[in-house]
Amino acid sequence: MKLAPINKNQLTLSWLLAVVIILIPGLAGAHTDGAGGGGFMTGFMHPLGGLDHVLAMVAVGLWGAILGSPAVWILPVAFPLIMTLGAVAGILGLPLPQVELGIVSSVVMLGLVIAVKFRPNLPLAVIIVSFFAVFHGYAHGVELPQNAGALGYSSGFVVATGLLHMAGIVAGLVHRLPWGERVLQGGGLAVTVTGLYLMKQLYL
């Protein structure tokens, strides 16, 4: 039987995937009540547990896909790094005012930039996303449970955030279709409206 040839990118991604798979049993396997497993699931579920976090992370991916290269890959690299600064501040107990307002504002603003097809230059896009990333990271850091495994929790929360970005990027690829831009603009509007609703819930 003759096997079909594969290209270099497929090969490299397969290797990276294999490495990730290899690590899974170490994190999620035996003794999950210890420092590894329980912390990982707690951290992994944390960004998925709040609608505001989910919408903001997916919106970052969507916006990156709309902006195209290089923003589509710089944003997912920059976001976890900047978000970590916020998380570090939260873990250390440093004060950051209006965290919840910052988070729901990120939902409103990121939905809005998608809805109005705002296309700034790359540095400005990174600054906008980074500004909101600090609030999201802070919320994750300050809520780090005392009894959670630090490594597991951090890994889970970073991986979940990254996967949400990727989901947004994949969904954002729809903009290449003839009707895709309209769909994305509608999605952005829906995110903004949801953000405004969350803001109303927060203050009224």
């Binding site: 096997l3 040839p5 594969i6 290209n7 270099k8 990118n9 090969l11 490299t12 991604l13 397969s14 290797w15 990276l16 294999a18 490495v19 798979i21 290899i22 690590l23 899974i24 049993p25 170490g26 994190l27 396997g29 035996a30 003794h31 420092a35 590894g36 890959w73 997912p76 690299v77 920059a78 976890p80 790094l81 978000m83 970590t84 600064l85 998380a87 570090v88 873990i91 250390l92 107990g93 850091g141 780090l144 005392q146 495994g149 630090a150 490594l151 951090s154 890994s155 970073v158 991986v159 990254g162």
Partner: protein, 207 residues
Amino acid sequence: MMKEPILRRYMSVLVFAGGALWPSSAMAHLRVSDSALFSGIIQPFTHVEGTILLLVLSLWAGCAVRSRVILLRFCLGGLAGGMLLGGMLAPDAMAKMSLAVVILTLGMGLAVAADRPGPGKLAVILTPIAGFILGGFWREGLEFGVKTTLFFMLGLAVSATALAAVVMAAAFFARGRVARIGVRILASWACAVSAMLLAYWYRSGPY
């Protein structure tokens, strides 16, 4: 497009991944005294702090050597040798070892994420040092005799070097744009995790 030899290598990676998954069903409740060699082999899959450094170190070395395969071989050899030496000779200082692991992960992760891995010769110098720290870190707290420690470290060096070889090769061959982005995103994740660990360390002491 690549032909048969690459496909065979591809299959071997899959076999390696399958093999690595197999101990997950059997590693629970394994006592160190049962088999020092086997305990060494599974150590990188059960003490993930060190494994994250190993992965980031491998990504970094694979990027830093660029197209010079000879440097990659030096890195792998240095890593294995450093780990063996670290396991046998490193001082008993768990907290300092853990801190060194986290700081190295942060630095190397940043270098890869920013696509500034530095010169290949630096990788040749730093991989044995990182290997020494990793060896000491993974052996830490295990009260073995010299002979048992040697078997344990041999098992550890084999599995950790095999894992590092796969990741180094992935980073080395990651010439395509998508693959390079994947490498940088993985490094940024590792970097974020280690920064949080440092903060946690500062707040609560060794995790």
